[in-house]
Symmetry: C2
Subunit: 313 residues, 2 copies
Amino acid sequence: MIVDKNDIEAACKQVAPFAHRTPVLQSSLLNDLAGCEVYFKCENFQKMGAFKMRGALNAIGNLSPAQKQAGVVTHSSGNFGQAVALAAKNLGVTAHIVMPKNAPSVKKEAVAHYGGIVTECESTLAARESTAKEIQEKTGATFLHPSNDMDVILGNATAGVELLQDQPNLDILMTPFGGGGLIAGTALAAHYYGNHCKVIGGEPFNVDDAYRSLESGKIETNETTNTIADGLRTHLGDKNFPIIQELVSEIIRVEEHEIVAAMRLIWERMKIIIEPSCAVPFAALLRENERFRNQKVGIILSGGNIDVKNLPF
Amino acid sequence: MIVDKNDIEAACKQVAPFAHRTPVLQSSLLNDLAGCEVYFKCENFQKMGAFKMRGALNAIGNLSPAQKQAGVVTHSSGNFGQAVALAAKNLGVTAHIVMPKNAPSVKKEAVAHYGGIVTECESTLAARESTAKEIQEKTGATFLHPSNDMDVILGNATAGVELLQDQPNLDILMTPFGGGGLIAGTALAAHYYGNHCKVIGGEPFNVDDAYRSLESGKIETNETTNTIADGLRTHLGDKNFPIIQELVSEIIRVEEHEIVAAMRLIWERMKIIIEPSCAVPFAALLRENERFRNQKVGIILSGGNIDVKNLPF
């Protein structure tokens, strides 16, 4: 194992001063429906609205003084851009966020509100990468990857650590499976803080690159990005894939309508706002609920950033 | 004072076994925006989704064995019907809920799901009252009023008591102002458990019967019910009005667009679901925020039952 428990403890220390210790909620109604005890770790209540704050805080916090002086850069159309902007602000570091021109203006404004410097580019991955590269070369800023970075993974692990501190006897810990950064961190948390706690990912059938990667033993990609779970369209990386191969038990895939139904259940029954990607593990649990019967299941509710004017129900 | 502290303590004991002790949430972003410290008591997370559960539990719990045997009846198109159905189920009592024919089927199903016996009637107040009366006469069931009943008021008080136990030094406690049952209970809680804690109600300009009642000294009514805050269309009663006259400092009225804006802020920034009526006190605070500067303000978030397919934004 390339990570040891001290690395996770260090991440917890790094993250704690600037992140919420988010609550763990339960719903007796959803427990009845699922046939098991579900503990929801509410990262939708995290600063900037998603667990990504944790990885960004740890990655920026671990930079050297000279690196901090030169700033950080990332490209993102989603939560990681906001997380880097806010974490950098908290730590007194300049953050450059490359965003596609056609990103919703509300997202650009959120990044700017957190003090991030927005640079717009064309909406292709190549344009995003080359624009970030230019900023790196011009400013000396450190590039931060949203999921394939050990400090980001360790920062993400802190959500699972907190959940296991509150509920040490979880049988299973579930997260959405996107670029692999959250599930890799959560698997490390379960390995070092759990009591025989299995880790299971939820993934949309429509972007099941991770499921296929674990089958084939190499990093697979998706032919389309046609899922409502817009945070889960990304691929695995060389840093997180080995951790996942070693520590994640399995991936349960779900249909789009199951994601929407699970999201709506959590909205209506728990009265909390989650984004579609966030509903995927609960959808996976409901799809195969026979296997979870009477177990204690923790679910990381990854985020709650959604346009309330544009809902799938 | 017709109520003493022992009555409230008794209500707390009666309510606690079957209600959630709901969390108190804060948002640094909303604090910045409001210019004061706001403590949100999340009754939207209460069983059946609203504070009304507390009043129903206390009122039914305080019935004699013979009365419990005969059951309870109320008429409601909203949260109180669900509250009575669920509280009665918890306490092993039969509940008859009179609902207008044109009530949304989702609400009728919710009452039936909680074990309530739904009787449909025409959608006039007269039809609701006469149908409830018939059931009373036929079954001997006790009629429960949603807001003008001392046991309901005392049950409602328990939300404020819990909030003041968690935050004993609130300067101000705010609630929506509808039929007067919540604010009367909250005012009793502030009187007996607060430390010079003022109580302020929020009310829509479009149904400002309570504001005018406090001005005139007698119970006023509304000419229209034209507000998005559908829980606040009701009038004061002879049981709660004297308490309110004695213990409520003032009422701040708000425009419809202010209610929608406050609701959206709480949804987007706190990631929690509240119904329009519930947003009214925060709208009132924002409208007159100069007067609240640097104060510690508690707000009872009254409920979160809303059709997510039909939002005002």
